[in-house]
C-alpha cells in the first residue's frame, strides 16, 4: 500500500522534472518571426493575417511565433518585447491601435525589425526610427472590383425582375447597404470605392451606411445588416470582422459582398465575392530582407500587381460573365488606364461649418461648378488635420506610399452615400 503512494509521488516528481526540462528545450535553432494579432482566428480580419503569416514563414523556412488576443495597450508592447526576447528577428502587429506600442518596442530593440499594418507614423512621427515600418495595400482597388461584381449581380437581378419597389428610393435609384466599423478613413475609403465599383456598372444606385463602433461585434453587425435590409437594401457589403452581417444576409437571402476572405462555406446562397489583402507577399519580403540584413521600405503599399490585393473565389450565384468583366477591369486598374477615385465619376457637396465650427461637411475639399473634386487637403501625417493636397491628374491619389502614406486617407462624404449614424 505504501508502495502505491510512493509510486504516485515518484510519478509526480518525474512530471515536474520533465516539465522543467521541456521548458528549457522550447527554444529551437533557426530564425523566428513573430506576429501579434488583436483577436484570434475567429475574427476574419486576424485570420487573414494569420493565414498569410503561416504561409510566408513556411515558404521562407522560418519559425512562426503567433500570439493572439493582444489588446491595443501596454500588453502589445510587452508582447512585442517578449517576441524580441525569444529571438524573433522581425515582429509584425496587425491592428491600428498597436502602433504606438510597437514603436516603443522598436526604440528598445534596435536590431529587430518591427512592422505594423494600417499605421500612419513611419514616415512622420516615427521617421527616425529606422527599424519601424508601416504597411498596407491598395485595398480600395479590391473593393472597387468587388463592387463591380455586385453591380453585375444587381444588373442581373433587375433584368430578372427581382428588384422590388421597396428596393428603390423616391428617385428610382436602387438601394445598397453597408455596415462599417468606425467613421474612419480606412472604412470611408473602403465603402466609397465599393460604391463606385457598383456605380460603374449600375449608375442608378444609392447607399445607406451604418456603423457599429467596433471592429468586431457579431450582434451589432447582424443588427446593422437587418436594419439595412428592412430599409430596402437590395445588396449588402461590410467592413467589420465578424460573421454577423454575412449570416444575417444569408438568413434573409440578400446577396452579400464580404471582406477579408470567402464566407461561401457558411453563406453559400448569398455570398458573391470578397476582396482581401493578401499579406503573404509583404511577409515574404519582410523575412527575406531581414534575413539578408537589408533595409526595406519604411512604408509599403501592396497592389494588385504585387499580389497583395486579391478577390476570393466567386460565389455560385454571381452573374454570368463576371469573371471576364473583372479581368478586364483589373487590367485597366493595373495599367493605370482606370483610377478608382477618378474625380469625374463622383460629386462632392461642401458644406461650410457654422459659427461654432460644427456641422461642416467635406471641409478641405475644393470642387468645380459640377461638384467634381479639384483639390483636397487630406490628413496624411496622422494628426487628424488636413495638411496635403492629394488630388492630381484628375484623380484622388489614395494610398500612395512613396508620396504620402500607405494607410488610406480618403475620408470625403460623396453624393449618393447616406450615413445613417456616425460612430468614432
Amino acid at each position: 500500500m505504501k508502495k502505491g503512494f510512493k509510486g504516485i509521488v515518484l510519478a509526480a516528481m518525474t512530471v515536474a522534472s520533465v516539465a522543467a526540462l521541456a521548458a528549457c528545450g522550447t527554444s529551437s535553432s533557426g530564425d523566428k518571426f513573430g506576429l501579434i494579432a488583436l483577436h484570434d482566428e475567429s475574427s476574419t480580419y486576424d485570420a487573414n493575417f494569420i493565414k498569410g503569416f503561416k504561409a510566408a514563414c513556411e515558404a521562407k523556412k522560418v519559425e512562426a511565433k503567433i500570439v493572439t488576443g493582444i489588446p491595443e495597450t501596454n500588453k502589445c508592447y510587452e508582447a512585442a518585447a517578449d517576441l524580441a526576447d525569444q529571438g524573433c528577428k522581425g515582429v509584425f502587429a496587425d491592428s491600428f491601435g498597436h502602433e504606438a506600442h510597437i514603436a516603443k518596442a522598436a526604440s528598445e530593440f534596435a536590431d529587430v525589425q518591427f512592422s505594423h499594418a494600417t499605421g500612419t507614423s513611419s514616415k512622420y512621427a516615427n521617421k527616425d526610427q529606422a527599424n519601424f515600418h508601416n504597411a498596407f495595400a491598395s485595398i480600395y482597388e479590391g473593393r472597387y472590383l468587388a463592387g463591380v461584381v455586385a453591380g453585375l449581380k444587381l444588373q442581373e437581378m433587375e433584368a430578372a425582375g427581382k428588384i422590388e419597389a421597396k428596393n428603390k428610393d423616391a428617385n428610382g435609384n436602387i438601394k445598397l447597404g453597408y455596415i462599417g466599423a468606425y467613421t474612419y478613413a480606412e472604412v470611408i475609403s473602403g465603402y466609397t470605392s465599393w460604391y463606385l465599383g457598383v456605380k460603374s456598372i449600375m449608375p442608378n444606385v444609392v447607399m445607406d451606411v451604418t456603423f457599429t463602433g467596433s471592429w468586431y461585434d457579431e450582434v451589432a453587425e447582424g443588427n446593422g445588416a437587418n436594419t439595412l435590409i428592412d430599409g430596402g437594401a437590395a445588396l449588402i457589403s461590410q467592413h467589420a470582422d465578424s460573421m454577423g452581417a454575412p449570416s444575417a444576409c444569408e438568413a434573409k437571402n440578400v446577396p452579400n459582398v464580404s471582406y477579408n476572405g470567402s464566407t461561401a462555406a457558411k453563406c453559400p446562397n448569398t455570398y458573391l465575392v470578397s476582396s482581401r489583402i493578401n499579406w503573404q507577399p509583404y511577409f515574404e519580403m519582410m523575412i527575406e530582407k531581414t534575413l539578408a540584413g537589408e533595409s526595406y521600405a519604411k512604408d509599403y503599399c501592396g497592389t494588385i500587381e504585387t499580389g497583395s490585393v486579391e478577390l476570393a473565389e466567386y460565389g455560385k450565384n454571381v452573374a454570368a460573365g463576371t469573371a471576364e468583366k473583372i479581368d478586364e477591369v483589373k487590367a485597366n486598374l493595373k495599367s493605370g488606364k482606370l483610377h478608382v477615385f477618378d474625380t469625374s465619376k463622383f460629386t462632392v457637396t461642401v458644406v461650410a461649418p457654422d459659427a461654432d465650427g460644427n456641422n461642416g461637411k467635406n471641409a478641405g475639399a475644393t470642387v468645380d461648378a459640377d461638384g467634381h473634386l479639384t483639390a483636397y487637403l487630406a490628413d496624411v501625417d496622422g494628426d487628424y488635420k488636413g495638411d496635403t493636397n492629394v488630388v492630381s491628374n484628375g484623380y484622388f491619389d489614395e494610398s500612395n506610399a512613396e508620396k504620402y502614406r500607405s494607410a488610406p486617407y480618403f475620408d470625403l462624404q460623396i453624393d449618393g452615400i447616406n450615413l445613417l449614424n456616425v460612430k468614432f
Partner: protein, 404 residues
C-alpha cells in the same frame, strides 16, 4: 416475486474533522487532473507539437523563462489580488458587488482624465496625488451609488452593480472618442503623468505596482480581523437583525464598506492607467472584477490563500497563452475551454472538501483500498505537523519560564 430493496449506489455525507493536509491534497489533486486533461486535449489537437510534457513546460515557461515574463506574472497576479481583496469587505457583508469591472474602469477614466487635461500644465509629481485621489474617488462613487440605493430603497445590488459596469465601459468609449474624434476607438499612451519607476527594466517598471497590492492585502486583513469596522460588517453579513439589535447602523456600515470596496477597485484602475498602460481602453479591467470573485470565494476570504489562488489563476491564463503560441494554436477557444476546466475542477474540489461520498458496502471496500494510501499519507503528514507543533510549543514554554 417481491422486488429486493436495494441499497443506493452511493450517498453523500458531510465531512467532519477533516485533516488540513487532506484538504490541501484534494485541491492539488484536482488541479493536477485539470492540467492533465488540458495537456491531453492540447497534445491531441495541436497542429505542430505532440509533446505531452511540453505542455507543462510551456505553462511554466510562460510565467518564468525571462525576467519580463516573471515580472508580468507577478504584476498581473498582484492586480488580481488587489481586485479580489477589494471585493472581500463587500462579500463578507453579503453585499454582492458584481461591479468590480466598472469600478476599475472609472478609476482608469479618472486617472486618464487628470493626465489628459492637466498633463503638461502641472509637473508630473503634482499630477500623481491628483490622479490617485481622482481614481479612488471615482471608484468609491461608482460603488456608493448602488450602496445608497440598497440602503435606502432596498434595490438589488447585483443587478445594479452589473449595469454600472456597462455604463463605465461606455463612458470610457465616449471619452476616447471625445479626445480623439476621428480615430478607431483606441488611444495612444499619454505623454504626461506616468507614475515613477525604478528604471526601464521589467523589474523597474513593475516592482512598485506589484508590491502595492500586497501592502493593501495586509492592511485589509488587519482591518477585517482587528478593527471595529471589520467586526461590524461581518455581523451585518451574518444577520442584519442581529446587527440592528446590538446597535449597529446597517445603512452606515453598508455605505461605508462599499465605499472602501469601490475605492480599492479605483486604486487598481489608478495603477493600470497611471503605471502600467498610461492610457485606458474599454476592456482594461481584463474582467478581473469577475475573476476576483472566484479568487475571493475560493480563498474563503483568507488573504494568504488569496495570494496563492490569484497567482494560480494568473499562472493558468498566462501559461495557456504560451501554450497557444508554442503548440501552434491561433484560435483561443481551446485554451479558454481548458482554463475553464481547470478552474471548474478547482471549484469542484470544494465539494469534496466539505462532503464525502459513501459508496454501497461492496464498492466501498474497493474504494477504501484505492484511497487507503492517500488517506494514510495525509494522516501521517497531519500527525507529523502536529508533532512539530507540539515540539515547538514545548520548547517555548521553558524559555517563557526563564523569562519569568
Amino acid at each position: 416475486m417481491a422486488r429486493e430493496h436495494k441499497e443506493p449506489l452511493f450517498h453523500i455525507v458531510k465531512r467532519m474533522n477533516m485533516g488540513g493536509t487532506s484538504k490541501v491534497a484534494i485541491r492539488i489533486v484536482s488541479i493536477l487532473i485539470g492540467l492533465i486533461i488540458g495537456a491531453i486535449f492540447v497534445v491531441a489537437l495541436s497542429p505542430t507539437s505532440h509533446n505531452f510534457f511540453g505542455f507543462f513546460g510551456s505553462m511554466v515557461s510562460g510565467i518564468s523563462s525571462t525576467p519580463r515574463r516573471l515580472w508580468l506574472f507577478l504584476l498581473e497576479g498582484s492586480l488580481l489580488l488587489g481586485v479580489s481583496i477589494a471585493l472581500v469587505p463587500a462579500f463578507k457583508m453579503k453585499f454582492w458587488n458584481l461591479g468590480g469591472n466598472g469600478q476599475i474602469l472609472v478609476g482608469c477614466l479618472a486617472t486618464c482624465a487628470v493626465m489628459f487635461y492637466l498633463g503638461g500644465k502641472l509637473p508630473d509629481p503634482a499630477l500623481w496625488p491628483i490622479m490617485l485621489v481622482a481614481s479612488v474617488l471615482a471608484g468609491a462613487i461608482w460603488a456608493l451609488i448602488p450602496a445608497l440605493f440598497k440602503a435606502f430603497f432596498k434595490t438589488n445590488e447585483s443587478l445594479f452593480t452589473l449595469m454600472l459596469n456597462y455604463i463605465a465601459a461606455i463612458l470610457i468609449g465616449y471619452f476616447i472618442s471625445l479626445w480623439y474624434p476621428t480615430g478607431t476607438g483606441s488611444m495612444s499612451p499619454l505623454p504626461h503623468g506616468a507614475l515613477p519607476t525604478l528604471g526601464n527594466t521589467p523589474f523597474g517598471k513593475y516592482f512598485l505596482p506589484t508590491i502595492i497590492f500586497f501592502i493593501v492585502a495586509i492592511a485589509i486583513y488587519f482591518y477585517l480581523r482587528f478593527s471595529k469596522h471589520g467586526y461590524e460588517l461581518s455581523v451585518v453579513g451574518e444577520s442584519e437583525n442581529t446587527a440592528r439589535y446590538i446597535g449597529i447602523n446597517v445603512k452606515v456600515v453598508t455605505i461605508r464598506t462599499m465605499i472602501l470596496s469601490g475605492a480599492l477597485c479605483g486604486l487598481v484602475g489608478f495603477i493600470l492607467s497611471g503605471a502600467v498602460h498610461q492610457m485606458m481602453s474599454v476592456n482594461m479591467d481584463s474582467n478581473m472584477g469577475f475573476t476576483g470573485i472566484m479568487v475571493a470565494w475560493l480563498s474563503h476570504f483568507n488573504p494568504a490563500v488569496m495570494i496563492l489562488i490569484a497567482y494560480f489563476v494568473t499562472f493558468v491564463t498566462r501559461g495557456m497563452s504560451q501554450v497557444n503560441t508554442d503548440f501552434g494554436f491561433t484560435d483561443e477557444k481551446l485554451s479558454s475551454v481548458i482554463s475553464g476546466i481547470i478552474f471548474f475542477l478547482l471549484i469542484a474540489s470544494e465539494f469534496f472538501v466539505s462532503y464525502r461520498i459513501v459508496w454501497r458496502a461492496d464498492i466501498q471496500k474497493v474504494m477504501d483500498k484505492i484511497a487507503y494510501p492517500f488517506v494514510k499519507a495525509c494522516d501521517s503528514t497531519d500527525s507529523l505537523i502536529k508533532t512539530i507543533k507540539v515540539k515547538l510549543t514545548t520548547k517555548k514554554q521553558p524559555a517563557k519560564k526563564e523569562a519569568e
